[in-house]
Every structure is written in C-alpha cells, then in structure tokens.
Symmetry: C2
Subunit: 218 residues, 2 copies
C-alpha cells in the first residue's frame, strides 16, 4: 500500500509540474498562481502545497528539468562530432528544448531577480552552451571544415548563443499576434547556422547552402 501511495504521490507531483509548465507557457509565470494550477488540475490547494510549498519551488523543479534536457542535447555522445549534419540536429534540438520551456525566456529577468537558484542555474546553462558552441567550432576547424582564428571563434561562440537564446523573443516582438510555431523554430535554427556560415568550408559549407534553399529568408 505504501509503495502504491508513493507511486500515486509521485504521479501527482509530476502532474503538477506538467500543468504548471502548460499554464506558465500560456499565461506567463508571473500571472499564474498556485491556485490556478490547482484549479486546472481539479485538486485542492492543500494537496498542491503538500508537494510544493510555493510557486518558486515549482519553477525550480521546471528549471532543473530544463537544465537536464539542455545538457542531454549538448552532451550526448553524437554531439561530440565534426559532422555538420549532427551539429545542425543539435541546434534544432536545443530550439525544441527552449520552446518547451519558453516561459523562462518570456519573463527571464523578472524570474532571475526573484529566484536566486534559477539565476545560478541559468548562468550555468549559458556557460554550457557557449562551451558547446566553441567546441563544435574547434572540431570543425580540426578537420578543415571551419576556418577561424582563436579570437574569431570566441566572438562567434557568444553570438551563436545569443541568437539561439533570443531568436524566439525577437520573433515574438516582431509578430506578437501570430502564435509562434514550428516554422519559427526552424527559422531560428537556420539563423544560428547563418552566423557561422561564412566560416564554414567544404562539405559543411555545401550543407549550409543546400539548407538555405529550404529556408528562404522572408
């Protein structure tokens, strides 16, 4: 019985996190209360508070999930590659993760200023992303598929992460009345690759040129 109750309890916890993510993404984290989350799930606020003492703890749980999913994309064994196709998949996949947790970017500074643990975590994710970008450039360079000096590579890695992190925010400001979707994600991933494109050589450059026929810039 205890085991079974533990299982149900764990399921409730997971359901709370999933419902919160849905509501945060739809209405923004600042405008979503714990009461709304409980109401959405048709559970009592008391039941919710049994699992999370406050909304901040739910945000922290979601941020931990976000970091895990991002790290999984950036650190997976196939990511340690000099194949441009795999790097492209990796960019696409990071956009999918950002999209799933888009509420974080919507009110990023607000959330960071309120929840210290999220601030630390976000800085870590940015650092991880810049490192991953830098290493991908170095691997491409080692096989003659990218031509940069050390300085250019560092400036490039930062710009890759800025475009990857903020492309969806830019699109949102540009088209606030149109729901962002799959097309914006693909276009964002293409824009990231476009930052690196002038430095690409050989097969990698040819891959980018093929891709640019598929993603015509409006």
């Amino acid at each position: 019985m205890t085991v079974r109750r533990g299982g149900r309890s764990k399921r409730t916890r997971e359901r709370i996190v999933a419902a919160a993510l849905r509501l945060f993404n739809e209405f923004g984290e600042p405008d979503t209360t714990t009461s709304l989350i409980a109401a959405e799930m048709a559970i009592s606020p008391g039941n919710l508070y049994y699992h999370f003492r406050n909304k901040e703890e739910i945000v922290e749980a979601l941020c931990a999930d976000f970091e895990n999913e991002m790290a999984a994309v950036l650190n997976r064994s196939e990511a340690q590659t000099d194949e441009v196709e795999e790097i492209w998949r990796q960019i696409r996949d990071t956009f999918d993760v950002v999209w799933r947790y888009r509420f974080l970017y919507r009110d990023l500074n607000n959330i960071l200023s309120r929840i210290r643990s999220v601030e630390v975590l976000f800085r870590r994710i940015l650092g991880l992303s810049v490192d991953a970008a830098l290493q991908a450039c170095e691997r491409l360079g080692a096989v003659g598929e990218m031509e940069t000096d050390e300085m250019e590579r560092r400036a490039l890695a930062d710009n890759l992460v800025v475009v990857a992190s903020y492309w969806l925010s830019f699109e949102f400001v540009r088209e606030p009345r149109q729901p962002l979707g799959e097309a914006a994600l693909r276009r964002g991933a293409f824009q990231v690759l476009a930052v690196a494109a002038p430095y690409l050589r050989g097969r990698s450059r040819a891959f980018y040129e093929e891709l640019s026929k598929k993603y015509p810039v409006a």
Copy 2:
C-alpha cells in the same frame, strides 16, 4: 503668469518622466509604482496624476522618447554612409540609446503584453533597425566593401538586430551581480560588428581587424 505656469507645468512633466526612467532602470518597471515616483520627486500623487493618469501613460511617454532617439541615430544624414567608421559610430550610438532605456528590455514581454501601444511601437523600432542594417550592408556592398548575396544579407540583417537588441540581456544573465557599464556597451557593439565581419572587404575589413585588437574577447 499663464505662460510662466505653463512652463513650470511642462518642467514638472519632464521631471516626472526623468524620475520614472531612473527608477524603472534601477528597480524594473513592474516594481515601480506611481507613488514611488511621486515620493522620489517629493511631489504629491495628485500632482503626478494631474500630468499622467497612470503608470502606463508614463511608459508610453518614455517609449516615444526611445523611438525618437533611436530614429535620430538610424536616420541621421551621416548614417546614410558607406564609411565603416560612421557605421561603427552608429552601432555604438544605438547601444547608448538601448542602455538609456534598458528597463524596456529587462521586462520586455511583460510590458508588451500589458501596453498595446508599446507593442506597436516596439515592432516599428525593430522594423526600422532591420531596414537600417540592410541598407548599410547594401551601401557597403555597392562600393565593394562588403560581399554578400541577397539571401545572406537578409539573414545577416536580422542577426545584427538580434545581437544589438539582446546583447545586454545576455550579459546581464551571464553576470547578474556585476553592474553593466561602458565596457559591456563597447563589447556589445563589437559583437554586432563581428556578425558582419566575415563579409567585410578592403578598408572596412582592416578597420574591423584594428578594432578587434582593442576589444579582446575574454
């Protein structure tokens, strides 16, 4: 007497706007109330409400100033240039404007979702910026100082604006405990130019290379 009172009244209005800008930049717009603005100026809330019915009207006034300053930088006659030095000054100057109104970027989506007029205005500023970037690239291209095709130029213009708009947000997340300052602005302007650098030729390319010695990427 009427003239004199009109003059004093106008000055009070301007002082309210200036005080609000200072407080918004320091504490964020969502956490700054009209009472705080009145208290900061040592005037009564009634006096403030005589000039602005609510905080949204103050934000609108600031946004109009922001748009005017940005348009002044992007449209000034020297900006219609193929001189890379002037384009560099223009990038630097847009960073100064963004810095002066940094509260807007700190809680951008929050502010946009609350104040429809700001949403419209912001979209217009982004459009203006992308056009200015595109035209600068075309002018450089016409004198052989930049080499891109039409497609590359469009992807490039968007990326220039993304980095220009979000570099300070990126720095803020990366170093939330360090006050952003002059160094971050210069570095941001350099990162914008770095996006375009691989396409630069001749004197413009040489200018960038000189610059990159002055702004070593950490």
